[in-house]
Symmetry: C2
Subunit: 361 residues, 2 copies
């Protein structure tokens, strides 16, 4: 079944308000959430709405947080998210980074005491509207084993970087620092297929091709996949995200990061507050006149997009292209949801006495 | 044969001075160069000295550059390297980033008109001595095909991030944004061995296991190795390095980056000046008191280092550990050089009439 995005936004706003979110925060959270569905990143969209609700029910999310700057210099700040929805805390923190950049040239904000923040790219793109480069990263609950380790110590810790161009759409990189996210294993499992070597390892730390290996005590592996293909580099990236997001801010890091799912309890011995994010905004005219920079970006993008494709490929993509294509289609044709997701939304609808979204097809 | 590091430093200083480098710049360049040998990164050490000389002979390196800031805001600057040795330009630019961070909290410097800068990690570590996080990246001549492309459009574009700790040595990530560097293919070729799938592709853009595929018109591939294992993420990383290093500064980017080797001519239609670098320095006390941050870093490091190793592994490593181990050994036991490298140094010795380094064993 397919839904108009406004219908999903309105439903999410209604649910967030029932949780006690002020109207403006409920609207912001819903906008960030459904932006994932519009861009085809279904794992981070409305499918997660029940997850946020369950965490709020356990008092692990504060639906009316006072997000505030607790430490700062001309180009930096630490923001305390007051246990709020990451969907609200993150855009607020990115605004602080942008404001710092307006006067200092760049702004860098580390955030503690937050929760899952949706898609990293949403926050990075906020900077692009201001002719800035935007950077967004977050740590996440431990599912990933560092190279040579048998233990889950890091999250999928994504990084997004958004860079404005002139006539071309912006360059938007947005990726987990693992080979794949857990969702890909779930898809293989449902299909009864093995996974490729380099996606995950078993409980002893050996490479595994079983789609169930992570739930059986194994772990996802860092980008690179195997030592031979450079998994230590993905381990470096995931670590940097963890440190910038949590050691700078005083959030939990590594294996102490609280789980997103409500049925797993957070550590009884936390090393910080909530989960952590890190944001950067760099004014492009802090380096050279903005029009000049953007014209060069057009040339950079065109040269790569127009390069000779590998055998069997149609065209070389620029980071951001697939999400833009999905956005275009879903804005006009609607957002398809899986039956299991729809069931969960119907359950929320009854629980909170709000109208369930109606499909358009 | 094995050489004392001072002997290699002194020889390099003598050669750089014969090229016309002022004494202080010759010493700085030699220190950066031999730091690679000490850390076991042989591909970036004294083996490259003849390469710098050949570029200078072709007037592609200015041995007495005036490195200067050409554009700035409180937290940013663009530095023009005046065609100098990257070994000199990069530390000068990093000093600018550190100085900006002292007042603004962070400092970010994009560099144009430079050359190969040695190991990325050297420059990042300069910040650690000042209780700052250091970031260093550079673009490089095109050897890498973006995902889906058959063309070489990006360099191996390394990233280094150095983060201070308290009683633990610093976290130092320093890695190319490809699966491997070209040197690994050369080693396989010398041994007559195939390379693993995911290291490189042939001239049509198909994955290749031939160690000669790059020289036969193929390309290295981005970190991830194959589309299935996430090579588009490595492509994102290499692109970000290219854009921050060159589009911010006005250096050459993508396929226009001039080659390091003197027998390949630079583009007759450049899009900028020289190659580009990008540096960042973030004062840790711009986020929280420095001692607090460093104590948490110790805990972060200890938790990961002490985690359960994967089957068959001894211990989980922290980024920087392998280079520190090599440094310790080579400081005491000397630096081993291959016969081909020694021959090249002997040739330089005769050419410039300076004493060749004498082996200690």
């Amino acid at each position: 079944m397919v839904y108009h995005h406004n219908s999903l936004v309105n439903f999410s706003v209604a649910v967030f308000k029932k949780m006690g979110c002020p109207d403006n925060q409920a609207r912001l959270a819903a906008k960030v959430l459904i932006d994932a569905d519009l861009k085809g990143i279904d794992s981070h969209g409305i499918a997660r709405l029940p997850g946020y609700v369950r965490l709020w029910e356990k008092d692990r999310i504060n639906s009316n947080p006072e997000v505030k700057v607790v430490y700062e210099t001309p180009s930096t700040a630490v923001v305390d998210g007051d246990r709020g929805l990451g969907l609200v805390v993150a855009p607020e923190a990115m605004k602080v980074a942008i404001k710092k950049a307006e006067t200092a040239g760049t702004g860098w904000v580390s955030v503690r005491n937050s929760n899952h923040y949706g898609i990293a790219g949403y926050h990075a793109l906020m900077a692009v509207e201001k002719d800035m480069v935007g950077i967004s990263m977050t740590n996440a609950s431990p599912l990933v084993a560092p190279t040579f380790s048998a233990e889950r110590l890091l999250g999928t810790n994504p990084i997004a970087v958004a860079i404005p161009a002139l006539n071309q759409p912006p360059f938007v990189a947005d990726f987990a620092t693992t080979t794949v996210a857990n969702g890909k294993l779930e898809i293989s499992k449902r299909k009864g297929q093995p996974i490729p070597t380099g996606w995950a390892q078993d409980a002893h730390g050996n490479p595994s091709t079983s789609a169930s290996c992570v739930e059986e005590g194994g772990a996802l592996v860092p980008l690179g996949g195997t030592r031979e293909l450079g998994s230590h580099k993905g381990y470096c990236l995931g670590s940097i995200v963890d440190i910038f997001s949590a050691v700078f801010s005083g959030a939990n890091y590594g294996p102490w990061v609280p789980p997103f799912v409500s049925f797993l309890e957070p550590s009884s011995d936390p090393v910080g507050k909530g989960i952590g994010h890190f944001f950067g905004a760099m004014r492009i005219d802090a380096f050279r006149p903005a029009e000049e920079f953007k014209a060069e970006m057009d040339r950079w993008i065109n040269r790569i997009r127009d390069s000779k494709p590998a055998e069997g490929e149609q065209q070389v993509l620029i980071p951001g292209d697939p999400e833009r294509a999905a956005h275009k289609t879903r804005m006009s044709e609607g957002i398809p949801l899986l039956p299991a997701v729809i069931d969960n939304l119907n359950r929320l609808s009854m629980e909170f006495n709000v109208n369930a979204p109606s499909p358009i097809a």
